[in-house]
């Protein structure tokens, strides 16, 4: 059986919490040690699904853009079509984050346009965007 990164980091956090922190005198270093323990726990809990979370977000945004192309005009419509047709350049977190950042920039431009559009289709799309943003926040919530 392989030792996963998640298990390894949980082990590091436990060592910091149970064996190192008790040896550190109260004060600035002790507080740093406490926070370091929490941060390692957050990293441990995020490492397994880090790629899956980003792949899912990117797919959801592309689908939104595909559905929104006909609702807007001009340059934004072209940007949406291009973003909807884009693909993730790879499965490294840095590659997925790069794509995620580009897609989010388009999403911001789209929402700025349709949130002042009173047509029902635009308002429905805006509601979908808010729903997506809420879900993204839930899925990315730091777990300690």
């Amino acid at each position: 059986m392989n030792l996963t990164l998640e298990t390894l980091l949980h082990g590091v956090a436990a060592t910091l919490r149970d064996r190192i922190r008790p040896e550190v005198p109260e004060g600035f270093a002790a507080e740093m040690s406490r926070l370091a323990t929490l941060l390692v726990s957050v990293a441990a809990n995020a490492v397994d699904d880090a790629a899956a979370v980003r792949v899912w977000e990117n797919q959801e945004m592309r689908q939104l853009f595909a559905d929104a192309v006909s609702l807007v005009d001009g340059d934004l419509s072209s940007r949406l079509a291009e973003a909807a047709a884009s693909v993730d350049p790879g499965l490294r977190i840095s590659e997925l984050d790069g794509a995620n950042g580009r897609l989010r920039t388009v999403l911001i431009a789209l929402q700025a346009e349709i949130e002042v559009d009173r047509r029902a289709a635009a308002q429905d799309l805006n509601a979908r965007i808010w729903g997506l943003l809420r879900t993204v926040e839930e899925r990315r919530a730091p777990r300690m």
């Binding site: 950042g101 911001i108 509601a127």
Partner: protein, 338 residues
Amino acid sequence: MSELERRLADYLAHQQPGARNLSVTNLARIQGGSSQETYRFRATWEEEGRAVERNLILRRAPPAGLVVAERDIEFTVYRALAGHGVPVPGAYHFETEPCWLDRPFFIMDLMPGKPGHFYASADPYDGQSDAVARAFWRHLGTLAALDHRVLGLAKIRNGKADDDLWSRELDWWTAILEKGEDVPEPIVHAAIRWLRRHPPPGPVKPAIVHGDYRAGNFLFTPDGRISAILDWEMCHVGDPLEDVAWAIDPFWPMTRHLALEEGLREWEASSGLVVDRLALDWWRLFSAVKACAIWTTAEASFTHGEAREMVVAMSGIRAGHFHRNLILTLMTERGIAA
């Protein structure tokens, strides 16, 4: 004597040519805000035949931190506010020459008391929560009543402005947010657009705004007094409700210790102003945006290696999520985010 103690002693001796046998001991780094390095120390010397002992604080600029603080702002404000009803430490010797301690710093008095940690589940004020909370609101009201021009603070941010204080601050924090963003947060940008389209009611009296007035940024004593209000790096002139909204942000809720309405009554009594609830609601959303800008800066500082403090990393990860969730709640209250 450590290397930093020796260099600090050299500096103090340089500043006080009349002092003999100046010594710095017990230097220890302490928690004291996340945008300045804070150390306490003891300085002793002889002067005109008598022994002098002082417990002092060194505040030194870090390589980078949560926000890009104007380096002399805290020192300037401490000097200006001394003796005007808002408790602040005495401040001495603002220095920018890197030959002394590498980065800008100043020296101030170590004040009595201790901070109450806002995340403590039990009573953080040792049975004095009510008194501390009332003092908290009263001092903020006193600050709002002061005239920054009379105190010589017209040179701080917005110090010469009389209107559009809300848009100046929104522009300021939007620029900071965008500078630090690697992956933009659509939730925060949506809130910024809403704030621009729905300005708070005006006009307002320009006031000295602490900028980070909250639990954790003051010291209290066992008798329930607030002995010092600290961490003025983000001080500027603005709408006094900016500080009120920041103080009631649920990340550091002073309303745990005194109901909001009672706290606002204390503030109104000492400021002589009336809280406009619509304006306060605007500033509550603004506060969440400002917080996100600060946490984004924290993330950027850590990402780019300019800061390695654990509190900076934790702020970026945990507090950023908290305040984006808060924006979702506040936008839902406005009927924007279903």
